[in-house]
Subunit: 585 residues, 2 copies
């Protein structure tokens, strides 16, 4: 889906014809030059919307050939689908609410004894089509991609069973990415709504999507989502495992969890949040916090540890998990189950103890060539934000950091997309590679379609602010292109270049709805009588016309300018008489 | 106006009965304790809403006695009101649209040869009622207030002709303040609407309000605003002066400007933006910028300098302006007329050259005991934000910095309250004393009532984030109080403690509208079946009941806990059967 008439999808081809990397090209109006119109180059920006399709048939399997060509995977029967994967109502009905009717591919996994992760290839010096795709997408050298993946400083989440994705990379040397959470819950929503949210989120720029469903039809909702997603899909498998034991955390076992992980690996989930750092001995450290444990996965595992007085089975079985992930190329998102839930609890003993364990697990996963990112908070006051990234990067050897916000204050429920965008922009500037969005409904309710959009746009602007601050090559071109359009009163271009053209245009039209106002050389702030930007244009035009290319030269020309200005009638702005705005007298 | 039934205005009395400092007291529900309810202390927060009144009669003159008691002002006839002060329509009609019918006080000014500024008193070691009021309001020592004002590191904007204000202080040792801009323009709005916006803005927390009117009825709109404002009012007098010369900048003269300033001093404007740093030689430095000059006042003065090829008359007459300001206690807000209008232009030669001139003007104003703050950008990428404050603080000897945003990126018109809140929180953490809000309509249109509210709330949360980061005494108490309420599922308290209780409650009710859901021990994110916060509460309760006060002790107790947990039926959450939510099966 394309959000504005001036936007179109364009593709750059790589070394083989099936490497077609999408961009959104934004066409622009001409500038007024002193001797006639001057064309403006269209702007190409990163595109996450995917190729689009009928949701009931899913997306084309872009990567299927790449995976097959490597010759290191096998088709196999796979785990049997159990109706219980979709909860008790599905068992009762004999079907999920809306069974997936599109193509069902036979699951793939690595042949015995082989690893099929992008990290594995990168370490062997192999440049995969996924890496090439990513390099074109990021406008960088493919060697940088391969080196960063090999070193573990970046990941390309790309399950062999999710051929529909357009590969993307998460790492601090690359553009800052944004994840959007969707998913049903016990109290609300349908499969159809969740698929619509997925499409909506990627349309507005979500780089990955996490399906956090906890209600009915978990398995089938995920099938619909994965088959329709052009971006990597993440999950928190413990949520589904908990449903399988009817919400009783102490009934969880490694076997049930393992089976759920395999189920999701076969469906094509690209990364999974694993709360393996919630160790029994860390749980008591949360007792004197203001908000204790706020991570759902963290509290499930804490509950299990408490009930059994045993060490977290995700920790004790971590190597087995790595072996599974290596066969599908599923990436770890090491969950911060003990993340702070309020600014008072930030950077405390519980959080930092868990982070040290996540660092240990990062190294263990890397021994299996499994890709890893590390999750971070949450709620952090601004002065502690930098320390969060610094410690994570030092301890975890540069593994990508993936943070939720963080919220810089707790006092604004209803505005937590903003309180968290403040922390998110700051933490991304200091090195966080991916930001998990927060919607205005955070802490209050489940996001609807509008909230998803607001969350994604808010996080795109936070991520982009960080890209600009980090000096990412090319990032500022977008700002500069929009600012030039603003300076030249190209209103339609300003709308088209906005992260949200619809809202920008609607806001403009509220004050000045008439169509001619969109070509007017003024805006509603000052009205037609006087406009500050005009003066600058006078200065600029004068300098250009007189070939003045230094401040001194321009200043020398000023006396002449002064006389010319007086000749023009000394009016700082000559209002075009044809513009019908509410007649100031 | 009070925004929630749990809020009420309370007053702390100072050393004299007419020093009554307002706070908003938020009453809270009890917590559930192991042996019964535990009361929660009400929270007192800073209050800007004022005492409220019928807008047509204005507010009571709280400070009138304080000013009179000092015995250093005189009543005088004042400048004659001219109908032209309200524009050509008022002249034609013989009256403004809605003439001010409330009390008209005789203007006051300092007796000859005397200065009546708070800085003057502070330097003489005098503690004024205004200083005492501010100290109570900020919960700090009054000596700190006096010292900071004497040193120029803080200002108390308080025109002797604006007795209605509740004094407030702007300085980096105090709470970060927020300014809201209102004002009509050539294309829209009425006096009534602007007064309503003023009240609305202070209700939600605006610490000062700038009246930036540029349309009809400028004088009278301002009269209504000043008479009804419990917060200091700022203006940009060049806007009105330009109206008086029918929009032709080159027709401006020092005499017209001076007359306009006196007009506004007599009405009670507390601070004025003066673009005296836009020097002729700096104008050419903007020629190669992407967005040239974007400050309206800056471009007016640049236009004047170009037309006359003379130095800015605000600069050449600066000392005379100081003498006027000293007689009314009007504070300078030294305008950054050459501020960057896009991230590409940030921290450039034009901006920094002007800043050096503003530093020079700061020192000159201080020689007259006139209070000064210095305005700052605008649009600044995040990595250059800190440098802005550092240079301003160094060069301007610690004079308070007052910044617009800054916006951290240019690509999100429609969301510029957010792009700028990111920059605002960062710059305030580094030392900016007051933030000028930006609404969602920035760059697109004029803010309506909803936009004003969104802008104020967004900036309050940015300012508060900075207060927390700076470790301002007491700032975090608000966060902690709300977080404790969240942890204990006190929903009504969470709403009451939010910067915007209405939005918080409305968002909650969208997902879980039933009244019992507001006392439910769960939220819509996980539903009633499982709740992460419950686990933490189990841990906490266990620790408290067993007198465990160290992590080791708690861990030793864990085995016992494990057994107890199993006895409880091993369910991590026992759902209260009485809660009617959408029945998961």
């Amino acid at each position: 889906m394309t959000v504005h008439p001036s936007h179109r999808a364009v593709y750059t081809e790589g070394s083989r014809p099936d490497i077609r990397v999408p961009f959104t090209e934004i066409s622009l109006d001409d500038s007024d030059g002193p001797t006639g119109p001057i064309p403006n180059e269209p702007l190409r920006v990163y595109r996450t919307a995917g190729p689009g399709s009928d949701p009931s048939s899913g997306l084309p399997p872009l990567r299927a050939g790449w995976v097959a060509d490597r010759g290191d995977v096998e088709e196999y029967d796979g785990r049997r689908r159990a109706l219980a994967d979709d909860g008790r109502s599905a068992v009762r009905r004999g079907a999920a609410t809306a069974e997936w009717k599109g193509e069902r591919r036979t699951p793939l996994r690595a042949v015995d004894g082989v690893r099929v992760t992008q990290m594995h290839y990168a370490r062997k010096g192999v440049v995969t089509p996924e890496m090439e795709f990513v390099a074109i997408r990021e406008s960088c050298d493919v060697d940088l991609v391969r080196e960063e993946v090999a070193a573990g400083r970046a990941i390309i989440p790309a399950n062999v069973n999710h051929p529909e994705i357009e590969p993307m990379i998460i790492g601090k040397r690359f553009l800052v990415k944004v994840n959007a959470n969707i998913g049903n819950s016990a109290v609300t929503s349908s499969i159809e709504e969740e698929v619509a949210k997925l499409t909506w989120a990627t349309t507005w720029g979500a780089d990955t999507v996490m399906d956090l469903s906890t209600g009915d039809d978990i398995h089938t909702t995920r099938e619909w989502i994965v088959r329709n997603s052009p971006v990597p899909i993440g999950t928190v498998p413990i949520y589904q495992a908990l449903e399988k034991v009817d919400g009783e955390a102490d009934q969880l076992t490694w076997e049930i969890f393992r089976d759920t992980v395999v189920e999701q690996c076969e469906q094509g989930v690209d990364y999974m949040t694993i709360h393996a750092g919630v160790l029994l001995r860390y749980v008591p450290m949360t007792a004197r916090r203001i908000t204790g444990i706020v991570s759902r996965g963290g509290s499930i595992m804490a509950g299990w540890c408490l009930a059994h007085h045993q060490e977290n089975f995700l920790y004790t079985h971590f190597d087995e998990l790595c072996e599974i992930f290596a066969r599908y190329d599923v990436s770890f998102s090491l969950g911060d189950g003990l993340r702070p839930g309020c600014v008072a609890d930030a950077n405390d003993e519980a959080q930092l103890s868990e982070l040290r364990t996540l660092a240990e697990l990062t190294s263990r996963a890397w021994e299996h060539d499994v890709q890893v990112m590390v999750e971070g908070p949450g709620h952090v006051p601004l002065h502690l934000v930098e320390e969060n990234v610094r410690l994570q990067q030092e301890w975890c050897h540069g593994a990508p950091f993936y943070t939720l916000g963080p919220l810089a204050t707790d006092i604004a429920p209803g505005y937590d997309h903003i309180t968290s965008a403040i922390g998110a922009a700051a933490i991304a500037m200091h090195g966080t590679a991916m930001l998990c969005y927060v919607t205005p409904k955070e802490h209050l309710g489940l996001p609807n379609r509008d909230d998803v959009k607001t969350g994604v746009i808010t996080y795109k602007l936070a991520a982009h602010s960080a890209d600009v601050a980090k000096g990412h090559p090319g990032a500022r071109r977008w700002d500069d292109t929009l600012s030039k359009a603003r300076f030249e009163f190209r209103w339609q271009d300003q709308f088209a270049l906005s992260l949200d053209p619809h809202t920008a245009e609607a806001f403009h039209d509220e004050t000045l709805p008439a169509e001619p106002a969109k070509t007017a050389h003024f805006c509603s702030m000052c009205g037609p009588k006087f406009c500050s930007m005009r003066i600058s244009q006078d200065v600029r035009r004068y300098a250009a016309e007189h070939g003045l290319d230094s401040a001194e030269a321009i200043e020398r020309g000023m006396e002449e300018k002064s006389a010319e200005f007086a000749d023009l009638g000394k009016d700082v702005y000559l209002a075009p008489s044809s513009i019908p705005v509410g007649a100031p007298d």
